[in-house]
């Protein structure tokens, strides 16, 4: 582990891990800035959302070299000078997606060209269950839907990807073998942090309290700026969000850690931002299940020790379960969604009529769409049926005059959004062609048709399942 000179004597044994990417599409400069100014031992980069794997699986079907998060390679290229300045900086990322080996090969090329051939690249694979899906089923692993208990056979022919969420251990193993860049396929998000910290602090894989601490740390930083001021309810108090600092956790061997961000960056780390993120996308906070541990998020204490530093202590954990979660994606028809702006008296009524006209025309053309939705954005349809209670505050925010406060029906401007989903692609394609005509053949005051026909895209539905850990063997390989 590196011991940068500006660490105080009390904290020389802590490990600094920063997460520079919360999802594929996140800010491209964030990882560079974080690595430059974060005094990091490890940089983690999380590219995979629930359904990213299905998109990557299709890319790999078309091109066997593809199927990983290409953004990572751009980031790595730009990181080269930083890696040269900081020889001990290591990177752990799930950018490998459906093709960690392909991603790692390209990464190694980039490192060589940058004169960094001494950096060892490793892959973690074994998460991709697609090649042995039928074998698993025949061996008695039902991969039934966790929520509905339906057997996988009901959608088997439509499955495009099936990945187990691996844990931190293979990442730790790769680091032990001397890797400085670890590229994984699907692993649990928090495990990107738990791997390095368990390795560096030599935590046992059944040290549940410490693994829980690492998991809390990983969970807090996995969504990037969401813990440093992004999404924060009191966001007006977060200065300079344009230059928001990405999060760093500073983890002691005991498991106690601090959440912070690089100096001279925008955003805020305080009790509120950390508490909001602690419970983000959580079910039972007393049992947050990962492949590594059952973490008790209700056991930790948050203490704001100084500006933009929150100390997290007391994490408790219980043994991990004996199964991995599996994320399966399957084809589920086609969808399209289009928007138009509706202006003038009775905009709300006109928007509804406009939406109905579009759908009626598709019907007259002979297509009976399976799922349709008409929304009037600006009229409260973001949270349909709940928003009316919010009319008063929301219209006051926009500086509206008193008399418009409760005038939901008499809005002068709304966005009409019409969306459909259907198993028949031609039905959805026909729908996409009905937006332009409405501008000239519908109610007056409809505009904003400037971006062309809505795109028709395939729907990949999500099928969560569990699989016995003994059926899966994570694979670590140095390039």
């Amino acid at each position: 582990m590196s011991t940068p000179t500006h660490h105080s004597p009390l904290t020389t044994h802590h490990l600094r891990i920063g997460n520079g990417c919360g999802f594929w599409g996140d800010n491209l400069d964030a990882p560079i800035l974080l690595a430059q100014h974060g005094r990091l031992d490890y940089l983690t980069l999380d590219y995979l959302a629930e359904l990213t794997m299905s998109i990557l699986a299709l890319q790999r079907q078309r091109d066997p070299q593809a199927g990983y998060a290409t953004d990572f390679l751009d980031v790595l290229e730009r990181l080269a000078p930083v890696l040269r300045d900081q020889p001990s900086l290591k990177i752990v990322t799930n950018a490998g997606g459906m093709n960690p080996t392909g991603c790692a090969t390209k990464a190694q090329d980039i490192l060589r060209k940058a004169g960094l051939e001494d950096r060892v690249v490793a892959t973690v694979t074994g998460d991709d269950l697609m090649p042995r899906l039928d074998q698993l089923i025949s061996e008695g692993h039902s991969l039934a839907n966790m929520e509905t208990s339906e057997p996988l056979s009901s959608i088997r022919s439509r499955v495009v990807s099936a990945n187990a969420y691996l844990g931190a251990r293979p990442i730790g193993d790769a680091l032990k073998l001397g890797a400085s860049i670890v590229i994984t396929g699907r692993v649990a998000d928090a495990s990107l942090t738990v791997g390095p910290v368990a390795h560096e602090h030599d935590w046992a894989w059944d040290d549940w309290d410490r693994l829980s601490a690492g998991t809390v740390a990983g969970h807090l930083i996995e969504c990037g700026a969401q813990v440093t001021g992004g999404l924060w309810c009191n966001w007006q108090e977060a200065p300079d969000l344009a230059n928001v600092g990405y999060p760093i956790v500073e983890i002691e061997p005991s498991g106690l850690f601090r959440v912070t961000k690089p100096p001279n960056t925008g955003g805020r780390v305080n009790q509120e931002t950390v508490a909001e993120q602690l419970l983000y996308e959580v079910g039972d906070p007393a049992a947050y299940l990962t492949p590594d541990v059952s973490a008790d998020f209700t056991s930790v204490s948050l203490n704001e020790t100084e500006a933009d530093v929150v100390q997290v202590s007391g994490a408790r954990g219980k043994p991990a379960t004996d199964s991995y979660k599996v994320s399966i994606a399957y084809r589920d028809g086609f969808t399209a969604s289009g928007m138009l702006v509706v202006f003038g008296a009775d905009a709300n009524t006109k928007a509804l009529s406009g939406g109905e006209i579009i759908l009626d025309r598709v019907r007259r053309a002979g297509w009976h769409l399976e799922h349709t939705n008409i929304e009037r954005l600006g009229a409260g349809d973001c949270v349909p049926g709940v928003a009316p209670a919010m009319d008063a505050p929301s219209y006051m925010v926009s500086g509206a005059k008193e008399h418009r406060v409760s005038s939901r029906v008499h809005l002068h401007e709304v966005v009409l959004r019409v969306s459909v989903r259907d198993s028949q692609k031609p039905a959805v394609e026909r729908f996409a062609k009905e937006f332009a005509p409405l501008v000239t053949s519908g109610p007056p005051g409809i505009t904003g048709y400037t971006t062309g026909r809505p795109a028709v895209r395939e729907v990949f539905a999500y099928w969560p399942a569990l699989v016995d850990k003994r059926a899966i063997s994570p694979n670590v390989k140095l390039l």
Binding site: C233, V282, F297, V300, V386, M396, S406, V409, V420, F460
Partner: protein
């Protein structure tokens, strides 16, 4: 005297997100007094009723007293979830803010539930919402109705 109604945002902040077709809303009180009130009054039933138009099949409430928090899981509330839902907010990102508009009547000891005043001049969301509600309440109902 009639108990005054305030938005939930006055005593709590919140964040929401998705898990497949389910959503969670974490509601975090600003003070221990606020948390005790929420524990007693912001039940799963209240939240289920508030979001009835989104048809959650059930709502489960968990407690995280360490952060003065209640975590609500709203099952099957996203009309299909991220990839299939036809709603603009297919991931439930805005549910937390919607819930913060819930009008509550915490009674006489309300002051002890307010967010401690932050340093600096900027107003927090709870203050902005409270101001808006005050303006709204000062406008007589008849007047609003007639002009609307």
């Amino acid at each position: 005297m009639e108990e005054s109604r305030i938005p939930l945002a006055t005593i709590a902040h919140a964040r929401s997100g998705d898990k497949g077709n389910h959503a969670n809303i974490a509601v975090l009180a600003y003070t221990p007094a606020g948390f005790r009130w929420l524990q007693k009054n912001l039940t799963a039933e209240v939240v289920q009723r508030y979001f009835a138009s989104l048809n959650p099949s059930r709502v489960v409430r968990y407690e995280a007293p360490n952060v003065l928090g209640l975590n609500f899981v709203l099952y099957e509330v996203l009309a299909g979830g991220a990839s299939r839902s036809l709603r603009i907010d297919s991931q439930g990102k805005t549910l937390a803010l919607a819930l913060l508009h819930l009008e509550i009547k915490p009674g006489v000891a309300t002051e002890a539930m307010y967010r401690p005043r932050p340093k600096g001049k900027n107003k927090g969301m709870s203050e902005v919402v409270t101001e808006m509600m005050n303006v709204f309440r000062k406008t007589p109902y008849q007047k609003r109705k007639k002009k609307a």
